[in-house]
């Protein structure tokens, strides 16, 4: 299994715990990650609200680089993944625009055929690596811990474009959590938004939207929330203090993890290689539980 690793703006600029843990865990499953050269933003959300053709061009350009490498494109971010899927759909429907985009791509020696493959991290872990390999890799079983799965909006909607998991009843991330020996179950608001894309324009509303989710997670007795989306992580983890302040809930502590961080810890990989020191939420009790093997 060999993939073209596409980081996207948010992961490569700041969400190092995600990238580090992905690089630390996947090779153990025979997954070879090849770094892409000359990539740019996927166009979402930089151009999706500004100029349609520029948005589709940016996504097509990155897909063309993966095509040139002859590898399946593997973006880490839910937003980038959906942007690639939307672009492919739009250009399949509009051959004229596809020709126009290719005319401009030619300046950089690139061609977008639309024939390249794309994979989401949930598909890679759940469907390609699979239950048996993951269970076999677990050294520290996460027994006695219960995690809320938060797949994130763009991993599950819109179903009409084909997403990695079901729009109304996503279960892949729950399965992945269970394969580590922990519990996972549905909770109210599981498929709800984190609010992150409003961070710049309606800060208070974002904190309230994200706060509703954290309150539900807390109320239902979870030991933490697990996601694979950098935007969601940024809000739930990096901004958890601000959420507490907005809601006036100082004791609202919810440890937040990237799934690959939990997987790595369960595999016995050292926490520094998983970027766990960068999580801002109170993850220490869970981490000691996992490494202590209690």
């Amino acid at each position: 299994m060999k993939y073209a690793l596409y980081l996207g703006c948010t992961v490569q600029a700041e969400q190092f715990g995600y990238e580090a843990s992905v690089r630390a865990v996947l090779p153990s499953f025979g997954v070879e990650l090849v770094d892409m050269q000359g990539t740019s933003c996927c166009g979402y959300p930089s151009h999706s609200s500004v100029n349609l053709q520029a948005w589709l061009y940016l996504s097509a350009r990155n897909m063309a680089i993966a095509e040139q490498m002859g590898l399946t494109l593997f973006p880490l971010c839910n937003g980038c993944h959906l942007s690639f899927v939307e672009t492919k759909h739009a250009l399949d429907e509009n051959p004229r625009l596809k020709r126009k985009i290719n005319k401009v791509l030619r300046n950089e020696g690139l061609v977008y055929t639309g024939g390249g493959e794309l994979i989401h991290i949930l598909e890679l872990l759940h469907d390609a690596v699979g239950k048996e390999a993951i269970q076999r890799a677990v050294k520290n079983k996460l027994t006695g811990l219960k995690f809320a799965a938060h797949p994130g909006c763009h991993a599950i909607r819109p179903s009409m474009l084909g997403r990695p998991d079901d729009a109304e009843n996503p279960q892949k991330l729950d399965d992945l959590i269970r394969w580590l020996g922990a519990e996972s179950m549905d909770y109210p608001g599981k498929i709800d938004c984190c609010g992150s894309s409003l961070a710049a324009t309606a800060g208070k509303a974002v904190m309230e939207i994200a706060g509703d989710k954290l309150l539900a997670v807390k109320k239902h007795g979870f030991d933490g929330l697990v996601t694979t989306c950098p935007f969601c992580f940024k809000i739930f983890d990096n901004r958890q203090r601000a959420i507490q302040a907005t809601l006036g809930e100082k004791s609202l502590e919810v440890p937040i993890f990237y799934y690959t961080q939990l997987l790595g810890a369960a595999m016995g990989i050292g926490e520094e290689r998983l970027g766990l020191e960068l999580n801002q939420s109170q993850v220490d009790p869970v981490i000691s539980h996992v490494y202590g093997g209690k």
Partner: protein, 146 residues
């Protein structure tokens, strides 16, 4: 856009699914679609409402008429920018950053829980990627944006 909005039954699936309608009173995708179908586009282009969607896509998922208030909102945003209406500065800043540097944000040194700082190199991560020829990249974006 208007044709699409005209098939709306005003059933209310979209505001009941919308995470923002619950928090910001002025934002209601059902009412927004009603305005589009009545041709009140100009009013929408000047409203803050079109900038307060989180892009969660629940309205698109659940609309029984496949209207997708989300896509209508994106279309309205692009129209508002093209016409030079009021829009949040952050929107065009992100686009400008991509045009100049290839990415929305530059790599930072991130805070650790123990109040240290870590950047890509101290974590052993390879240098961040960007287009090799930024001038050519910017020209291409300009060309395709026409």
């Amino acid at each position: 856009m208007r044709m699409n909005a005209e098939v709306c039954d005003q059933c209310g699936e979209c505001p009941s699914a919308c995470p923002v309608s619950d928090k910001i009173k002025d934002f209601n995708p059902r009412r927004l679609i009603a305005k589009v179908s009545l041709g009140r586009i100009d009013e929408l282009l000047n409203s803050e409402a079109i900038w307060t969607c989180t892009a969660c896509l629940k309205c698109k998922e659940r609309c029984p008429e496949s209207i997708s208030p989300y896509d209508v909102i994106l279309e309205l945003r692009r129209l508002a920018i093209r016409e030079g209406r009021n829009y949040p500065a952050g929107i065009v800043e992100a686009a400008k950053s991509v045009e100049e540097t290839g990415v929305i944000q530059q790599p930072q040194a991130m805070r650790t829980r123990s109040r240290g700082r870590k950047d890509r190199s101290s974590l052993g991560l390879p240098p961040a990627e960007k287009p090799h020829d930024l001038k050519k990249f910017a020209e291409a974006l300009k060309e395709i944006s026409k």
